[in-house]
């Protein structure tokens, strides 16, 4: 894809990224950070791509290291975020009833 198209995607993504989190409440800062952290674990795709076309052993081993690191980031990130959010969930309805 040509450079301008990629640049366009890049710039538009910046605006989307800012827009979607602009109204986040303080209580969700930690899970949001953790969730965003998991999303950049998708760098795993890049690690698979470079490893899949590795032409010598140095590239292969480095690639495998990148894959392990990226998988830790992705899987660990989503699981840990889910554990945090699990705790927010069931409470709300019953509480609102109690307080009102």
């Amino acid at each position: 894809m040509d450079a301008i198209a990629l640049l366009t995607i890049f710039i538009l993504s910046i605006f989307v990224g800012i827009e979607v989190v602009s109204k986040v409440s303080a209580i969700l800062h930690t899970p949001l950070m953790s969730g965003a952290n998991a999303i950049h674990g998708v760098v795993l795709v890049g690690a698979i791509l470079v490893t899949g076309k590795a032409t010598d052993n140095v590239q292969l081993y480095l690639g495998l290291v990148a894959i392990v690191l990226a998988s830790i980031n992705m899987v660990g990130g989503f699981v840990v975020t889910d554990r945090m959010l699990e705790m927010f969930k069931p409470k709300k309805n019953e509480k609102e009833e109690v307080s009102k």
Partner: protein, 463 residues
Amino acid sequence: MTPTWVRLAELLASVLFILALKGLSSPKTARRGNLLGAAGAAIATAVAFFYGQEFFGGPVQHLPEILVAIAIGSIIGWIAAKRVQMTQMPQMVALFNGVGGGAAAVISVIEFLSAGNEETVAMLTATIFTVVVGSVSFTGSLLTFAKLQELMTSRPVVIPLGRFITIGVAVGTIATAVLLVLNPSNTLLWLLLGLSLVLGILLVLPVGGADVPIVISLLNAFTGLSVAASGYVLGNVLLIVAGTLVGASGTLLTRMMAQAMGRPLTNTLFGAFTAKASTSTASAEDRPVKSASPEDVAIMLAYARKVIIVPGYGLAVAQAQNTIRELVELLVAKGIEVDYAIHPVAGRMPGHMNVLLAEANVPYDQLKEMDEINPEFPATDVALVVGANDVVNPAARDDKTAPIYGMPILNVDQAQQVVFLKRSMRPGFAGIENEVLFDPKTSLLFGDAKDSLTKVVGSLKTL
């Protein structure tokens, strides 16, 4: 060309990531948002194997090794994420972020080794950018992990001439990066990698105490940007979108956190809490404080009309969240009005305390944010501070020389009576003496927070 269906699948994954971030911004949809993100990541990973002939020059090579590596990483990540205690969450996020940055850096190193001389200047620049930013994020995050895990001191580490060394290494890194773009060579690449790794350490070393979470958030945004840059290098739109989303939202989130602490970002990074302790530290041991027994505290609470609980990291460390909930339930049953005052950075990370209390089934509507609760302190009979210190230290409001000056605090000093549950007279994470402790209206109940609270609950029941 990459098959069309692969690209469409990647488009779907990009949309899922946007929905994930959107969902994570509201309590109702947060969990679903995270699951959408995980689905997007799974789809993206699965289709990566089908890039086809032109990309891989045949079918994917080294397929068994790749699958094994994914399995190893996933198992490590899964176990770590399942085992970690909620109190250790911040360092876990730091660690996951660090390995992500490391992965981005390694990918770019491979790209450079395989195609360094043939790349366009733009490609080279992006490659080298990823190496630098990914490496800084890697060592910076690992050091943050070490600080939070208390493998090393959490105080700022100031090395002699540290500022100049850091500037020197930063300039060296940039110079090497520029040279590398002009004149690609493997030797220079290794030098750059080394310099960047050192730079990550030097940047985080002088950051201390309560500023650490902001740094985690910033490094998270860094990793996002390096992922976006590696997407550019690989011509992969999905990585560009995902990385940029995280980079942009992470930067905004970092700013919001810094604002919550009343500290401009540049201050956090470069003027970070200097190591000087406040003036009164030396005399702390000699100054009189009023200590109370659990029974005294129980009586004080039982005859109050309005109580505000200020939970801090010490509460979490003592695993006393359930005990405090029990105490609050008892008080509410007696008709006393009880709220929790949650400082934005209570715990070790913004929103951390909310997670910890949610874990203990504390009703969500009893948690009041700082701006909402602060005007209520003067009308409060008892402010019960459990394991918090810096976030209630009036020095942040009144003492211009204090390192935390400017950080918004909970005004417990305006309550009629203040009770601190503390393990010792040791100052808080930021290492600053708290004048409220010596106020005549303040009582201190020393001991492990859980023990103390259990005793208070016990005597409340007999009243």
